[in-house]
């Protein structure tokens, strides 16, 4: 019995936000936009420019431009701050990849994520894909409901979906190019 309790104590003590955990989850969202890929990339490409198109974003503090190692601190309107580091930015291919630096469970109930955003031609317009990989907020074996795989999936899907819808609305409401 004592051994069981010790094991449980260790398990709970390790359930911190730093813990990485065992089972990653996929996220993959796309949207088509009636604008040229270049026009879409001009808006969505700048790493520190997410505040210009993502409707959930209240404020962005960015350093490092679009170079590897650049950092953006994204404060959300509903609270919480996402600190994200840029891994790779390829303007010619209209794609960039970034990952979470520090978890903030108030911003998104996940403990680690990475993502890639890519713009490709789609007929007369453009297709934007935003895909990534994440772990639930509590990577222990008994996560509370608000930090479960399901909660993480719902929050990440909502954040990506709202962002892409905001991007589309911004581009399609402007003057025709």
């Amino acid at each position: 019995m004592r051994r069981v309790l010790t094991s449980l104590a260790i398990l709970f003590a390790a359930g911190t936000a730093l813990a990485h955990g065992p089972t990653p989850q996929k996220i993959d969202q796309t949207i088509t936009i009636r604008a040229t890929p270049d026009a879409v990339w001009k808006v969505v490409g700048p790493f520190g420019g997410i505040g210009a198109w993502h409707p959930d974003v209240a404020k962005v503090e960015a350093t490092g431009g679009d170079g590897a190692g650049a950092v953006r601190k994204v404060t959300l309107k509903r609270g919480g701050t996402l600190v994200e580091g840029l891994d790779e930015w390829k303007g010619a291919e209209r794609t960039y990849s970034y990952r979470m630096s520090d978890p903030d469970l108030d911003a998104l109930p996940v403990s680690s994520y990475s993502a890639t955003l890519t713009v490709t031609p789609d007929g007369e317009g453009a297709k934007v894909e935003w895909m990534g990989r994440f772990y639930r907020g509590d990577t222990g074996n008994e996560p509370p409901e608000n930090l479960s795989d399901a909660a993480g999936k719902e929050a990440m899907n909502r954040y990506f979906s709202e962002g892409l819808k905001g991007l589309k609305a911004k581009l399609e409401s402007g003057p025709q190019r």
Partner: protein, 318 residues
């Protein structure tokens, strides 16, 4: 039901001929809850074995036996050479695995318990444990009964003397060591540091860092060719593998593969790479330094192992 029976039939067929062939690669698919066997670099998996949900790491023991860890399910699956499966309950979050070549023990990293367990390979009973650094990820056995443990949140590799089950050293590496591989030819351990985007090289005997070289974004898996000349590192976030020349410790080539490449294994001059996001395995020709094929596998492939199908006695001299 029909699918299950078909899979079972395939598994039985392929496993039955296993010991006589030239070797194969097994991949653990986490979402698909399957172990799939790849026999040919240009064909579909020859067999699939259904296992409990969310297997993460696959390891090979002697005699064609496989082990899979289930961190969310507190269990280890054992697949015998004839394809029969059974499960052992394990405390904590079993993740990293290493099977000793004599077939006596299985070492299991408990991710959230910060310890390594030694299980009897005969019964699955936990016989001993040793405390290690925070978030033990990959495990690999070296010479003289030493077990090397990637301590992800400790920025270190722990070294365990398995005869005594004592952690005898902690070697500083980069940020976020996740996967490691032992090279018996040069007496090294290679360590992929997922956050500092580099590969640390350790002298496995002296227990000291030798070198660190930059690779791609989020290095997540590492394997060494049997002759020790090449080290292959998967760059999970870049969608590439780095082929490292072990003599010069420089990156000889960077080869694009699928999305979110994770585990890697080498068999007969080919690297097999588990592309977690794109649900396939890339085959990379190490001499030509190109991807020569892609094999669809069950969803969420995470780790691979080149299975030892030669007799145990023939393994010892390699």
């Amino acid at each position: 039901m029909r699918r299950a029976r078909r899979l079972f039939g395939l598994a039985g067929l392929a496993l039955a001929v296993g010991p006589a062939d030239a070797g194969s690669v097994w991949v653990a698919s986490q979402q698909g809850a399957r172990a799939a066997r790849i026999e040919r670099p240009d064909g579909a998996p020859a067999a699939e074995v259904a296992v409990a949900p969310s297997p993460a790491v696959v390891a090979a023991g002697p005699g064609g036996r496989l082990y899979l860890s289930h961190p969310d399910g507190r269990a280890i699956t054992v697949i015998a050479a004839d394809g029969a499966t059974r499960q052992w309950p394990v405390p904590g979050q079993p993740f990293g695995l290493a099977a000793d070549p004599d077939g006596r023990f299985l070492y299991v990293g408990d991710w959230s318990g910060n310890r390594v367990l030694r299980l009897s390979a005969a019964t699955g009973a936990v016989e001993a444990e040793v405390a290690v650094g925070p978030d033990p990820a990959g495990l690999t056995l070296g010479a003289n009964g030493r077990l090397y443990v990637a301590e992800r949140e400790g920025r270190s590799v722990g070294v365990v003397d398995t005869a005594r089950m004592v952690r005898i050293a902690g070697i500083p590496v980069g940020d976020g060591p996740f996967a490691l591989a032992h090279d018996p030819v040069r007496g090294r351990v290679y360590v992929a540091n997922v956050r500092s985007n580099d590969l640390a090289v350790i002298d496995a005997g002296a227990l000291k860092p030798v070198a660190t070289l930059p690779v791609g974004a989020s290095p997540y898996g590492v394997a060494v060719s049997p002759d020790g000349r090449r080290v292959v590192v998967t760059n999970q976030h870049a969608g590439t593998v780095s082929i490292v020349d072990a003599d010069t410790l420089t990156v000889a080539a960077t080869v694009p593969v699928g999305r979110y490449p994770e585990g890697v294994a080498i068999l007969e001059g080919l690297a097999y790479v588990a592309n977690w996001f794109s649900d396939d395995v890339s085959v990379v020709d190490l001499a030509a330094r190109t991807e020569t094929g892609r094999i669809p596998v069950p969803e969420g492939p995470r780790t691979l192992v080149a299975a030892q199908t030669a007799p145990v006695s023939a393994q010892a001299g390699r």
